[in-house]
């Protein structure tokens, strides 16, 4: 039965690995296209890790299977053999193999991370205000005056569509703010989102942008990125936010610069 274990184990290892290795464009069980400027860094990091840990995974599983296979075909009264060198090679190889891998990973990875979350947004980035609430995202553009109106939690009213709690009467800046339910941005232009939540923690997740950021109530959380491909992507909430969590989504429309300006004009006209 030890042999059976070895076989099953190695089969499992191979089958599991195949799905990781085979990822053509038609395979939905893989990362979607990368539509962001920083995304390749993330993908690269992920693949590096995939190779390194994949090797460890396959090697150790097969080794285990191999040894089990051997160890069940031994005669009565077999005098056991200790692994050559005892525990030392284990310790050394682990420290060297894994140590080197994690050193490189954390070095490169930290740079990727810093590039996304620690670097400040470009000065000409397009500012967009994001309000998350159970169970929808709302997006706000500053409008012609380039200024956002103040937010008043007590004025928030889904019914009348005042999602941000704006006060157009007393607040000039608020009057021309463009509030929409789907995020529309120009391609290849830096975007600076300022995200806040009106109730509980939500999360802003766009697979194609390789971006995820929790939106914590009480905080204004900045997030900046540059979309490099036009198209329609999904923004979903990845932080458990209540019963409607699974339905909380919005669309991200990345338009060519010209189209975007038209779109924004239309919206301003409608305000």
């Amino acid at each position: 039965m030890g042999k059976l274990f070895a076989v099953v184990l190695i089969l499992i290892t191979i089958i599991s690995t195949v799905f990781f290795i085979y990822h053509g464009p038609d395979n939905i069980l893989w990362l979607p296209i990368d539509a962001s400027a920083h995304g390749h860094g993330v993908d690269h990091q992920l693949m590096e890790t995939m190779y390194g840990s994949g090797f460890l995974f396959v090697a150790s599983q097969i080794l285990l299977g191999l040894f089990v296979w051997q160890s069940t075909s031994r005669p009565e009264g077999w005098k056991y053999k200790t692994f050559p060198g005892g525990a030392k090679p284990m310790v050394v190889s682990a420290i060297l193999l894994v140590g080197i891998e994690i050193l490189t990973l954390s070095f490169v990875g930290s740079k990727v991370w810093a590039g996304i979350y620690l670097s400040p947004a470009e000065s000409q980035a397009l500012p967009i205000d994001v309000q998350a609430g159970q169970f929808a995202f709302y997006f706000r553009y500053a409008g012609a005056d380039g200024k956002f109106g103040g937010i008043h939690a007590d004025k928030i009213d889904e019914g009348s569509g005042n999602f941000f709690g704006l006060d157009p009467r007393d607040d000039v800046a608020a009057r021309d703010d463009v509030v929409v339910a789907s995020l529309t941005i120009p391609v290849n232009r830096p975007i600076l989102l300022t995200m806040h939540s009106k109730d509980v923690i939500h999360s802003f997740y766009v697979r194609e942008l390789r971006l995820q950021q929790d939106i914590v109530p009480g905080l204004m959380i900045p997030l900046h990125f540059t979309a490099t491909q036009t198209g329609r992507f999904e923004i979903v909430c990845t932080q458990l936010c209540g019963l409607g969590h699974y339905q909380m989504k919005a669309y991200l429309d990345v338009l060519p610069a010209g189209k975007f300006d038209e779109w924004l004009k239309q919206q301003e006209a409608q305000q």
């Binding site: 099953v8 993330v42 040894f67 310790v91 420290i95 159970q134 509980v200 990845t238």
Partner: protein, 591 residues
């Protein structure tokens, strides 16, 4: 007190008579251990049924599950689960499994039963406190169960109970009323129980070792329980106040975790000035050590069982102990890796990511030690040894995915996807459960004096082993595809095509779950019909095998053992038999 001590040394305390003192309010660590085991068994059954219901809903979200309406008329009108009820079941599944199964059975259950025996003591250092810790644990469990039956049903904010969702009460959802309060109370009580348990374990390990049982000679399982209790001592000490503060936020109107101006279901919340991240910090400061509280005992149990079937000593016993200690030490430096994208200061992310990656080193060493120990052995294949080997395999599979999630730059894509679900289910859930199974098949003969049925056991192993891979491997692929976790149903455009995979997982889960009935039957059958077990059926060396099966009330029939050897003298040439018991005075060349 000198006579008190002498008394302690020999432990001539008389066995209780009468059913209650014997089996219910017993101070005997063996009975308490079995009680913990029983509680864990009950809890795991509930937890598994919950996961069945969840899986069914994920595969077929409109499926009517007969009888579900009986369980909760509000949660499942017309037997179809509502999204909020899904979340409630998910929360209860997580809480039950993490606290009342993964923490209870390998640590409190087996630990209680075997730690004193393995060090040659007649009982825990504080038997009454031991009894207390079980009954406190039980009451925590009952409080949690009560959440099923209160109006609004169980909480729905997940086992992590992130504030403000968990702190603002009914407005946040049906389960967020009394249900969530009960959750907080239950966990707070559980912390107290763990504290009592940890004190007892530490004192017993250090003070009640019989003559010759030096620290270096203690079995690896004892070491694991000891290290675990040290971790628990500090970890639960942080969760306790966290739960108290959460409780105050909920019932006393404080604002520790709730910021100003929240508008939930169109009501402006009264709280002002709190910080949701504070809860996450306090929770995960406990939460990450908790992961190792769950897995370390399993590591110890497996390392304790393997040599008995390999008929050779564990490779690098000392190194393994060092690894467990290192893992325990590091577990306090890494909790932030649960919070990379939580709005935590991005600088901290790097700070937390490095030690997280470093943990893979001791983990890898341990794994290599297991694999290297199998090399050159003559393996006896039993259900217990199979589950040990299964544990190693699963531990590898689960640990590997840690490489990804430990890096913030990758976590920004994989966080809160099924990749995470796969990771912690493999490395913490399945691995620990395999440890429990191995322990059960290995120790049941000692615990109930009867041998478990091997053919049923092997059948159980094969279905479970292949099953868990069918369940959790595909979750990695789902995660890479960006499949978000904690969704009651998959309506997003990019998620709909993934539903077939979920259906496959669901079927695998149902089959694997069904296989556990074989185990239950085997357990019950063994209890009543199983063949009598000899004192040392596996020809093992540690102290629990030098007493009767099951052991007498004071473990060794009043005699105080003397230990002569280290724990794992197997395959010793020139010994009577191929092994030397720890208690055997015969001197053999130890290589």
């Amino acid at each position: 007190m000198s006579e008190a001590t002498a008394h302690a040394a020999t432990h001539q305390h008389t066995a209780p008579t009468g059913f209650f003192r014997k089996y219910v309010f017993s101070v005997d660590h063996k009975v308490i251990g079995l009680q913990y085991y029983g509680l864990g068994l009950f809890a795991v059954i509930i937890g598994m049924i919950l996961s069945w219901l969840m899986r069914l809903h994920l595969g077929w979200s409109t499926l009517a599950i007969p009888g579900l309406e009986k369980l909760s008329p509000v949660g499942a009108p017309g037997n179809v689960m509502t999204p909020e009820y899904y979340l409630s079941l998910m929360t209860m599944h997580g809480t039950i499994m993490v606290f009342f199964v993964l923490t209870n059975v390998p640590f409190a259950g087996f630990g209680n039963y075997f730690l004193p025996i393995q060090v040659g003591a007649a009982d825990m250092a504080f038997p009454r406190m031991n009894m207390m810790s079980f009954w406190v644990t039980l009451s925590a469990f009952l409080v949690l169960m009560a959440a099923f039956f209160v109006s609004g049903g169980p909480p729905l904010s997940g086992w992590t109970a992130y504030a403000p969702l968990s702190a603002i009460g009914q407005d946040a959802g049906p389960g967020q009323g009394l249900g969530q309060t009960l959750w907080a109370v239950s966990i707070a009580i559980f912390c107290v129980a763990q504290l009592l348990g940890a004190l007892n374990f530490i004192a017993t390990t250090l003070d009640l070792r019989t003559r010759g049982m030096s620290l270096a000679r203690m079995p690896l399982s004892t070491w694991a329980w000891f290290i675990t209790s040290v971790i628990g001592l500090m970890a639960f000490a942080v969760l306790l106040p966290a739960c108290i503060l959460l409780f105050l936020d909920r019932v006393a109107g404080t604002s520790f975790f709730v910021p100003s101006g929240l508008v939930v279901s169109d009501r402006l919340q009264p709280h002002t000035g709190g910080s949701p991240l504070l809860w996450q910090h306090l929770f995960w400061f406990f939460g990450h050590p908790e992961v190792y509280i769950a897995i370390l005992p399993a590591i110890g149990i497996v390392s304790h069982i393997l040599p008995a079937f390999m008929r050779k000593p564990m490779l690098g016993t000392r190194v393994l102990i060092g690894c467990m200690a290192a893992i325990g030490f590091l577990s306090y430096m890494v909790w932030g890796h649960h919070m990379f994208v939580s709005g935590m200061n991005p600088f901290s992310a790097i700070l937390f990511s490095v030690p997280t990656l470093v943990i893979t080193i001791p983990a890898t060493i341990a794994t290599l030690l297991w694999i290297g120990s199998v090399y050159g052995a003559r393996l006896r294949i039993t259900t217990a040894s199979l589950f040990c080997l299964g544990f190693v395999s699963v531990f590898i599979s689960g640990g590997i995915s840690g490489f990804f999630l430990a890096q913030p730059s990758i976590d920004t894509y994989l966080h809160a996807t099924y990749f995470v679900v796969a990771h912690f289910h493999f490395v913490m859930g399945v691995a620990a459960i395999f440890g429990m199974f191995a322990g059960t098949y290995f120790w049941m003969p000692k615990m109930i004096g009867r041998m478990m049925n091997e053919s049923l056991g092997k059948l159980h192993f094969w279905i479970t082993f292949v099953g868990v891979y069918c369940i959790f491997m595909p979750m990695h692929y789902l995660g890479l595809a960006g499949n978000v976790r904690r969704y009651a149903a998959f309506t997003d455009d990019f998620l709909v095509p993934l539903i077939p995979v979920h259906q496959f997982i669901t079927i695998a889960a149902l089959v694997t779950g069904a296989a556990q009935l074989i185990f239950l039957f085997n357990l019950v059958w063994t209890r009543f019909r199983g063949p009598k077990a000899s004192d040392n059926p596996w020809q093992a060396t540690s102290l629990e095998w030098s007493t009767t099966s099951p052991p007498p009330f004071d473990n060794f029939g009043g005699k105080q053992l003397v230990v002569h050897n280290e724990a794992y003298l197997y395959g010793v040439q020139g010994a009577s038999g191929d092994y030397v018991m720890q208690t055997s005075p015969e001197t053999v060349a130890q290589d």
